[in-house]
């Protein structure tokens, strides 16, 4: 009995993984052939990127401030407070910036994508699109994927910049001037860190969109089904972001 349940669950999980990767592959490949749905792309870019700016700035500001505060407390006994800028920068650009902005986008945008697509499924709008001759992946998934791949690195750059600004606001209270703060940045960082800082959010954006679209398009069972899908999408995206971050960091360390 238990073996049968496990067997069924394992098969279902494998099927879902296969479907997920098939959807991802189709979404990527469809991006290279017309029609390109420019209007849909700009709409999604505005929703995913521009509309997320406020929450991203807020996240960056307070994270930068708290990072600086903690660093200054640790550095003060060693008379090394001038290194605070570098410490904030390396932590934000390599790790916290990509991860926190991605988690924010997963909560804000991923949930919206899943809810929108899930509602379209349960109200038969997706079926209507298919009957009207539309390639649903190309119309609904690819523009969201493209918009996120462009928006996520940009949002992360904004997060990092605002975080550095927030860190400086705190550092000023410890008699650190702008020049000292700025000069400490390259002491902790190499060029590859900047690459890491924009590649990671692009990968996380891919995870957020594909998970949200896959779960949204698999929604069944009316309003309750949409709610369940949204919860699944946000939880799964968030966990995968954290897991992927670990493995990507390992890879970047190997190639350092």
């Amino acid at each position: 009995m238990n073996v049968a349940i496990f067997d069924r669950a394992a098969k279902l999980a494998l099927l879902q993984i296969q479907e997920f990767f098939a959807l991802a592959a189709r979404a990527v490949l469809r991006g290279f052939a017309p029609p390109f749905y420019y209007r849909e792309f700009t709409t999604q870019f505005a929703k995913i990127g521009v509309d997320s700016l406020f929450i991203i700035c807020l996240t960056g500001l307070f994270t930068g401030m708290v990072m600086a505060l903690q660093a200054l407390i640790q550095l003060r006994p060693f008379a090394a407070t001038s290194y605070v800028g570098g410490m904030v920068a390396v932590t934000m650009i390599k790790e916290l910036g990509p991860v926190l902005s991605s988690l924010m986008v997963a909560g804000r945008v991923g949930s919206a994508i899943t809810a929108e697509l899930g509602t379209m499924v349960v109200t038969e709008q997706v079926d209507a699109m298919r009957v009207e001759g539309t390639d649903v992946v190309k119309r609904l998934v690819t523009p969201r994927l493209k918009a996120t791949l462009v928006a996520m690195p940009l949002l992360t750059i904004v997060t990092d910049t605002v975080a550095l600004g927030g860190g400086y606001l705190i550092a000023m209270g410890y008699d650190i001037n702008l020049l000292m703060y700025y000069k400490s940045l390259p002491q902790f960082m190499v060029f590859q860190d900047l690459i890491e800082g924009v590649v990671k959010p692009a990968v996380f954006g891919f995870i957020i969109v594909m998970i949200s679209c896959y779960i949204g398009l698999s929604t069944r069972g009316g309003a309750e089904g949409v709610g369940t899908s949204v919860k699944r999408a946000v939880v799964l995206s968030s966990v995968l972001i954290l897991v992927t971050d670990f493995f990507m960091t390992k890879i970047f360390i190997v190639f350092r």
Binding site: Q125, D127, A128, E132, G133, T134
Partner: protein
């Protein structure tokens, strides 16, 4: 229907079986749609009527059996190939399934815009023409959320006919509408039939079914139990059909259940049912 006619039908299902999560929805279902012969699939709610429309359109894949569109089997076809076969067919979904993010005009012109073969001015002219056909040309810039249920269905009809399909499927087109709304939908369906469109409707609304169709299929307990014209359907003796037609017979079933529960409730129900008159067709 003889075998020759069935083979010539451009849309047909042969021994189609479909299940969801181990639950059988339809079993060995046969049906064909001949051009000019408007058909209705009848059956109680939840029996699988909408599933048949979705199977016919290739939106669902059957467990077994064959489905033919334009005389070609759709088994194993890719979505792009299915799209080409569906070009001749449109569907009006139960709740309209209008795209919420688009205006009424964009909804109606959706397929034409997607195909990209006509100029924007030409598409706008067609959109206005179709909207005026359903009497809603003034709603062109409104969003679906601003329309009533009946208006949504009429917009869905306008969208369905925008690309001039030969076959139009209707999924419960009169459900949830007031008598005027039902009259409007029936009139539109009859007008479309006069213009040469062939309709396939699924419904449990007998009045509309008899008003707009010449041939009927009856789905009961996952199976097709009747296929024929109106007279034969009215005289059919299958208990599933009789139960569907006669509220008195249907009530006998309910009476048994009520009787098991509460004798007083049973007595009240019998008194109430005795006052009711059977539906006349």
């Amino acid at each position: 229907m003889d075998a020759g006619t069935e083979r010539n039908s451009s849309i047909r299902m042969e021994r189609v079986t479909y299940s969801v999560g181990g639950r059988r929805i339809i079993t060995d279902f046969d049906m064909s749609l001949e051009k000019g012969v408007n058909r209705t699939i009848l059956g109680v709610s939840g029996v699988g009527k909408t599933t048949i429309l979705k199977l016919l359109l290739g939106l669902l894949k059957p467990d077994s059996g064959e489905i033919y569109l334009n005389g070609q089997s759709i088994a194993g076809l890719r979505e792009s190939q299915l799209s080409r076969l569906r070009r001749n067919i449109a569907i009006v979904f139960q709740n309209g399934a209008l795209f919420d993010s688009m205006t009424v005009g964009e909804n109606v012109g959706y397929r034409l815009l997607e195909e990209g073969e006509l100029s924007e001015a030409e598409i706008e002219r067609i959109v206005l023409e179709k909207l005026s056909f359903v009497g809603l040309e003034k709603t062109i810039n409104l969003y679906p959320a601003e329309l009533s249920g009946g208006m949504k269905k009429r917009v869905a009809i306008a969208r369905a006919i925008a690309a001039e399909p030969e076959y139009i499927f209707f999924d419960e087109p009169t459900t949830g509408l007031d008598p005027i709304g039902i009259y409007n939908i029936r009139t539109l369906m009859l007008t479309l039939q006069r213009q040469g469109k062939t309709t396939l409707m699924v419904t449990h609304d007998l009045h509309t079914a008899f008003a707009v169709s010449q041939r009927f299929s009856f789905l009961h307990d996952t199976q097709l139990i009747f296929d024929g014209p109106e007279e034969e359907l009215r005289n059919a003796t299958h208990p599933g059909i009789r139960e569907f037609f006669s509220p008195t017979e249907q009530s006998l079933f309910v009476n048994d259940r009520i009787n098991d529960l509460d004798p007083l409730l049973h007595e009240r129900a019998v008194t109430h049912l005795a006052r009711q008159r059977p539906i006349k067709h």
